[in-house]
Subunit: 595 residues, 2 copies
């Protein structure tokens, strides 16, 4: 049982990936993992790896002593090794690695830790099953891409902190064991041992606390905060996730937007060396829906939605006429100059996409020169067809898609989905573009069929636009909120609002939401109380950090940017959590599992 | 229902506390809270406050219009106000505030939010009951001292991040919903909704994950991590707390110690402008116990413990002789030149202190010139007394205290407690000193009476000192660990260890701890697995961030440095959490409360 003395300062000259031509002839010591060992008989090559990259070790006798040569001979992938020797200029440069101009002629080499054969090839683990990769996450994380991901994530978060610090924001930690105020998603609960039958909740966000920090006069707050939602996971969700959470006092929407544009601009410049133009485009929710069929439009490409209401009003096609007459809509997109690329099979697929989004059907015209085909033009007069073509500026080799529905939103959302599908299918955008926009003027409320009442679209503390204050009582469903989402390439990366600091308005909102006095008191009593002691106007924003990092690094899933993610059933496969616990743990908490 | 448009950029010229003589004659706009309003009839003064300080507003007609004067007249403490006007040089400087040379001659003033009368005077809330202060924490946090605390805490944490970033550490977030591996303190549990009868635990520390990050090759990790312990709270504990958590690969104890000394040095220099000398003193656990009766000695003052074993060996006092003969000890401290200050009543109190720490009695001699008194010298010969005096260098006006016990530790710990009591009582140290030291060479194990086995003093992954490897099997209770605590002014502010990366040693340790194969597999299987794939030598450290901030800012409780702390029964008084939750929440989790 021997354990070697290793001292970083004395023993490791530099990280593997940092050696250059300038180090030639220097005596160095390196430590790392064996990426590959090649035994040429009298000469052994080892690619030694650490988080910075790879350096080649060359081991041969008598430069290396007998014992070192022996150790090198026994090295296998993922063994941990310490080696010292002299840096040598290589005859032939290896272009594939940073240190390709040099190698280390080894004098001493020792194996520090052995490794079993890894369950998969770490350098090429993309095709390994998710389950196996996550079970051995500590091995997958050795992959160069993943190492780089977490180095970049560190830099992104560091930059965020530097930026908000420079702009007078204070990072203040808010509690994790808080009161359960279910509104929106489901809370994770934590049983209290001291107070039988009582529970804490894990925060879905620091929303209420950050507002209290504004009441407390901290003026500008931020936090990289862990948040929790006990929801059934979709691909892009995790039960625990991180957000960059900010709040400011004495501000209006423009102030929050402006400082966040500065932040994004500096972040992309510093981390990716990409210049993002500010100010970002702003679209109202209404406009975003009308033009893109989405409240988070991907504006890397056009293919905008056009209303055919004018042409459809007295159409001889019943589907068109009925849609308009029932207060619905008829909308179209025009895929310019690509008709020849859309096969019959592709059209079937597009119809399926539209149906997935509840559209009853998809009308199309494929304007090929000699072989025009359409599934609806036969029902229309030439005049009607011309009118539609004119509105859509349809030319030869264009292909137009039309959806009519008695519900405008259904038609728009389905066409929006079709638009995204076509955008990707026909490479209508540059995948390396980063296109930001703000979606503003969200509705303050939406109707919940389930609860048979209006519910807050954002949250109950969101301020209504001044212009709509007059209709708050009579016409709440038409009120717009001082709420804003930041959208990047079709993903919502952040969102926020100006909050209500006025008691009267807040009470009005609670009334519209049909909250009883008891409910208000039970759920938000402390916040309502706090607002009676001099609340400043305030507002803020939160970024989904995982998603922002994912988009910046062009990864496919937020799992790729979280060190130890959970899978869809909320399990972590490496540790097998959640798990059964000991009976005395439950006894302490005075809870039991239902039969 | 009117809501005023406020734009930070256009409307707030600067924070209240930032105006100086250089701003005289400038037109400015300020926003903040009314600290005080004084109505002199034709002239109203308002002290306006924000997080930077106070500025004086002077409101009189006709400079201020009728409406503004009216609003100023109605201002009360904690109203939120916006005001604009011109900066004026004051005739008489107010030395008490930063902006005391100037005032703002107000032209416009508006009340943005009113406030009820606060339940206590925010400027003087030290004497308000803890319960009331915490119920209205958002008001207490407006207090200048508390504002400053969180500004400083932000700076401390920012510096920590900057430092570790500059030194190649990566901040990597580890999960909060993890597997329960009870060993040490009690876990907080989180019921899983998806997996009936299964639970997550909240982390007591990121220990296992940070070791896995080393196995994954990240080389240097840090994180400001939230940790949770479901323990009955002592004054200095919170159920959730933060630690600065670090881990390094390819290092030995000296490396970890050295980089952390650099960190502390830079932290105190940057934040407090105090130069801390490095390297810090290092004491072995044994030495710390012998000299100070504590493994976290306060070395701001001397008053060291001396063994009287030599003098007590054949003492005519049975208490001395018996203690030595049963393998115990006789120890003393000498309070130099203060005998005249120790009253009879004080002696009684000291005897009580000693008893609290399980000492059976306290022997003393008060060496006053004319009035020497002792409770034990009458049992000894003059020679024996002289010998003791000589060992302790006891002179006129010294007072010596002796504790004899059959258990050395009992005697030492009791004397250590007495030492601290005397140090504070007689002002033996400067309260503004910051005295750091490392305590090293901790025992690897300690015997648990409760479990009737050896348990890890630190944790089961702590490496044994090479010198003691030989006795690991035969004599484990004498093995010393590569563990180190950082002590500041008698408080442990951090601690860590070099970890085991060698399978054989790890298995040996598990064996000594009497862990069964099943237990190991169940609790740490993933870590044991991971170590079979090439584990680098590694070690690290964690700081109790709250405690470090508390000591740096010379606060009395960690509650003072946490924005929303919990009280002793783990309640948060502002939100009344934990609380009863809705039945359907428990139904979803398939748990119920025991009858």
């Amino acid at each position: 049982m021997e354990d070697r003395k290793i001292s970083l300062n004395q023993r490791r000259t530099n990280y593997c990936g940092n050696f250059t031509k300038d180090d030639v002839n220097k005596d160095v010591t390196v430590m790392g993992w064996v990426e590959k060992q090649r035994d040429l008989g009298n000469l052994i090559f080892i690619d030694l790896r650490d988080r910075t990259g790879i350096v080649q070790l060359a081991i041969s006798k008598p430069t290396a002593d007998e014992k070192s040569f022996e150790e090198a001979f026994h090295c296998r992938a993922e063994f941990v090794v310490i080696a010292s020797g002299k840096i040598n200029l290589r005859k032939e440069k290896n272009e594939k690695i940073k240190t390709g101009e040099i190698e280390i002629i080894v004098e001493k080499l020792e194996i520090i830790s052995k490794s079993k054969t890894p369950p998969f090839d770490i350098a090429k683990c993309e095709n390994v099953s998710l389950e196996l990769r996550l079970k051995y996450r500590y091995l997958e994380l050795r992959n160069k891409d993943l190492q780089n991901t977490f180095i970049m994530r560190h830099k992104i978060v560091k930059h965020a902190r530097d930026f908000f610090d420079e702009n007078n924001f204070l990072e203040i930690e808010t509690p994790m064991l808080i009161k359960s105020t279910p509104e929106g998603a489901r809370d994770y609960l934590v049983p209290s041992r001291v107070h039988k039958g009582c529970f804490y909740a894990l925060p879905q966000s620091p929303q209420l606390y950050k507002q209290l920090l504004m009441v407390a006069g901290f003026d500008r707050y931020f936090q990289v905060a862990r948040c929790f939602r006990d929801e059934d996971l979709r691909a892009d969700r995790q039960p625990e996730f991180s957000q960059i959470d900010i709040e400011m006092s004495f501000v209006e929407q423009d102030d929050v937007i402006s400082i966040n544009e500065k932040f994004i601009k500096s972040l992309f410049s510093k981390i990716l060396n990409i210049e993002i133009k500010t100010p970002f485009l702003r679209l109202s929710y209404e406009e975003a829906m009308q033009k893109f069929g989405s409240d988070k439009p991907d504006i890397r490409f056009s293919l905008e939605i056009t209303s055919l209401e004018e042409a459809a009003l007295n159409s001889s096609l019943n589907a068109f006429k009925d849609a308009i007459n029932s207060g619905g809509g008829v909308y179209a997109i025009n895929l310019k100059n690509k008709a020849d690329l859309v096969s019959r099979k592709e059209i079937d697929r597009l119809i399926e996409v539209a149906k997935t989004y509840k559209a009853k059907g998809l009308f199309y015209s494929k304007l090929l020169k000699d072989n025009k085909s359409s599934n609806f033009e036969k029902f229309l007069s030439e005049d009607e067809i011309d009118k539609i073509y004119k509105i859509l500026d349809a030319k030869e080799n264009d292909m137009i898609f039309i959806i009519a529905d008695v519900n405008k939103e259904t038609a728009l959302v389905a066409l929006g989905a079709l638009r995204l599908y076509l955008g990707e299918k026909f490479n209508l955008y540059n995948k390396n573009d980063f296109c930001f926009l703000w979606v503003v003027d969200f509705p303050l409320f939406e109707y919940s069929e389930e609860e048979q009442r209006l519910v807050s679209k954002h949250h109950p503390f969101t301020m209504v636009k001044e212009e709509d204050l007059d209709i708050l009582t009579k016409n709440p469903e038409n009120c717009r909120a001082k709420a804003y989402d930041l959208v990047l390439n079709g993903c919502e990366v952040g969102g926020g609002s100006i909050r209500i600091h006025n008691q009267e308005i807040q009470n009005k909102i609670f009334e519209i939401l049909k909250f009883s006095k008891e409910e208000i008191n039970e759920k938000f009593g402390f916040l309502v109380d706090a607002f009676q002691y001099g609340a400043p106007p305030h507002g803020g924003m939160a970024y989904g950090l995982d998603r922002l990092v994912m988009l910046m690094l062009q990864k496919n899933s937020i799992r790729d940017v979280i060190a130890f993610p959970k899978v869809q059933n909320a399990c972590e496969l490496m540790t097998n959590s959640p798990s059964i616990v000991q009976k005395n743990q439950l006894d302490d908490l005075q809870i039991k599992i239902k039969d």
